[in-house]
Structure formats: C-alpha cells, structure tokens
C-alpha cells in the first residue's frame, strides 16, 4: 500500500513539476507547530522567519505565503512557495482564550478571526500541489479533523507527507501516528529544537523534488 501511495505521489509530482510555482501547504490541527516548522524552513533556507508562533491556539489566523523557498541538498533541489495555514478545528470557544490569559474582547475577536481562518484553510486545500500535515506527536492522531483533512487530500490526489512534531517532549509517541496512517511517509521532528530536521528535508526532496 505504501509503495502504491509513493507511486501515486511520484505520478502527481511529475504532473505539477512543470508548473512554475509549486505550492506546498502546511496543514494540521491548531497548535501542532505548523508556523514553528514554517519558521524553521524559512530560517534555514531564506535566513528569515515567516510568522509568529505562540502557545495559545489559533495564533495563525490568516494564510501566510513565503515565495521562492529553495532547498538544496546533495544533487537534489526543490523550489516552492510555502503556504502556512491556520489550524483546522471543529470547535472554537472564546472562553478557552480567556483561560489562556486574553481579555474578553480580545478573546472574542480572536475566536471570530479563527473561524474565518479555518474556512480559508479549507478553501485553500484545492490550490495545493503538495501538503505537509503537521501533527502534535503528544496528541491522539485519530482525531476526526486529521482524518477529514487527509481523506480530502487523498480524494483530490494531492500528495502528502505527515510530520510528527514535538518529539522533544516526553509524551511524544510517533508510533501512534505511524499506526494511524500506515500508508503515508511519516517523519518525526522537533521544529522548535531542530531535531531530525535534516531527515525531514531529505524526505521532502525525495518525495517532492
């Protein structure tokens, strides 16, 4: 199954290889570390960060794009536009933001923007040539949001890499993610600490270049 998935990935990758601006999207639930990974990629290859990351969920509430990211390793090279998307969720409660320390008005504003962010993320799914799903390895991978995103990408034949992030935390269990999505290429990293980030670039180049 994994081999078949890779064959499909290669097939669709070759289809969009001729496109001038390949879009690689970072998708996943809120607080999984999408922006932290985007910052890591941009810092490593462009020398500048992409956006602000925070421990409060829904920090990224608008689509952010970094154009012309160029990754080169050994004989492989990949040029793409990196799209960081707001986390997809089925619920948003402004009271959670108040518990995290925001004031009432600010929390309500953040919740409103977060709902719009989720809608935008979903709308942008169709525009992606390749998607990196970022999951928090300390959380249950069987959430319906994860299954819905991956199911929709599969239905659209958009190639996917799954990143299990936060490996630096003791509670991280990459094996759970591997068991949940056996047909996909999965890389475990810590975007904050840079752990295993070279392996991530190798996989990205192998799958998408």
């Amino acid at each position: 199954m994994k081999l078949f998935q890779r064959f499909l990935n290669r097939f669709f990758r070759n289809l969009f290889r001729k496109k001038k601006h390949v879009k690689i999207g970072l998708y996943g639930p809120p607080n999984a570390g999408k922006t932290t990974l985007a910052n890591r990629i941009c810092k490593d290859w462009l020398g500048e960060e992409m956006g602000k990351a925070s421990s409060i969920a829904h920090e990224t509430r608008e689509i952010q794009i970094k154009e012309q990211v160029n990754i080169k390793r050994a004989d492989k090279e990949l040029s793409f536009n990196l799209v960081d998307t707001p986390g997809i969720a089925t619920k948003i409660d402004y009271e959670d933001f108040i518990k995290a320390g925001l004031k009432d008005k600010e929390a309500k504003k953040r919740a409103k923007e977060a709902t719009k962010g989720v809608i935008d993320s979903i709308k942008w799914l169709d525009d992606m040539d390749y998607v990196i799903i970022v999951l928090d390895a300390t959380q249950d991978p069987f959430s319906q949001v994860n299954l819905t995103i991956i199911g929709n990408l599969q239905a659209r034949n958009i190639p996917v890499i799954i990143v299990g992030n936060k490996l630096d935390l003791k509670k991280a269990k990459l094996k759970k993610i591997e068991a949940a999505f056996p047909q996909y290429t999965i890389v475990g990293i810590s975007a904050t600490k840079g752990t295993n980030i070279d392996a991530f670039y190798d996989v990205l180049l192998e799958e998408a270049a």
Binding site: M1, I88, A89, T90, K91, I92, D93, Y94, K108, A111, T115, K116, V118, I119, I122, K123, L125, D140, F142, Q144, V145, L147, T148, G151, N152, Q154, A155, A180, P182, Q183
Partner: protein, 131 residues
C-alpha cells in the same frame, strides 16, 4: 439531560449534500447528540466543518465529530475483498457518525474500534449560608 438522536441513513440518503449538512447541524445546534447510521462523504465532512465555523458565535461553540468505519486496509485479502464488495453495495451506509455540540461534548476519542464521549461537566452554583 442528554438527548441522543438516531438518524437512519434512509433519512438523509435522498437529500443533497447541503440539505444533509443543514439537517445535521440544525439538530446539533438544538442540543442533540446525533448517532447517524453510515457516514458523510469526505467532501461533506469538510463542508460540515466549514459551515460549522460560519455558525459559531458566543453560544454555539462548534461540534465534536467522530466517524467509525471499518475501512482499515489491514486483514487478509479475502476480508479486504469482502469489505470492498460491502462498500460497493452499501456505499456510505457502513459505519457510524457521532456529532455533538461542543458546549456539551468535550471530546470524542476513537481507539479506533470504540468511541468514548467526554461530556462537559455542568457547574451547579451553590450558595453557602452563613450561620
């Protein structure tokens, strides 16, 4: 009190995607936990999340959603063939979907063969009388 509303697949089979989603969301927004026979299409699941986001306000906090379906790729070839045939004949009738309002259902965990519903605790305000 919690209300579980069972929806047989026949109730939504003839409906368009938009009508299916609206029917489910109307019931959830009225405070029901839905147990639906079968599942929505992947596209409909995505639309359900999108429409839910549009409806979120200070009272309605969104939904908890979980789909149980037996489409795992493991098992012997014969079992997979049987599942494939069942899918072909029954389509989206296989499995079960649970949808609850987020202000009532805190979390739904899949394991993946069992489902656990975590319900929000209702806080009772009690006043202590000073003696």
């Amino acid at each position: 009190m919690l209300t579980f509303q069972y929806i047989p697949y026949a109730d939504i089979d003839h409906l368009s995607s938009a009508k299916r989603i609206n029917k489910l969301l109307d019931l959830v927004m009225a405070g029901n936990i839905i147990l639906m026979e079968g599942r929505l299409r992947k596209e409909e699941e995505k639309d359900l999340i999108e429409i839910t986001m549009e409806k979120i306000d200070n009272r309605f906090k969104g939904i908890e959603l979980s789909v149980m379906n037996p489409d795992k790729d493991d098992g012997a070839l014969v079992d997979r063939f049987k599942k494939g045939m069942a899918n072909l004949l029954l389509g989206d009738r296989i499995g079960m979907t649970i949808i609850g309002p987020a202000q009532l259902v805190k979390d739904i965990k899949r394991d993946p063969d069992k489902i656990q519903l975590f319900i929000e605790e209702t806080k009772k305000k009690t006043r202590r009388r000073r003696k």
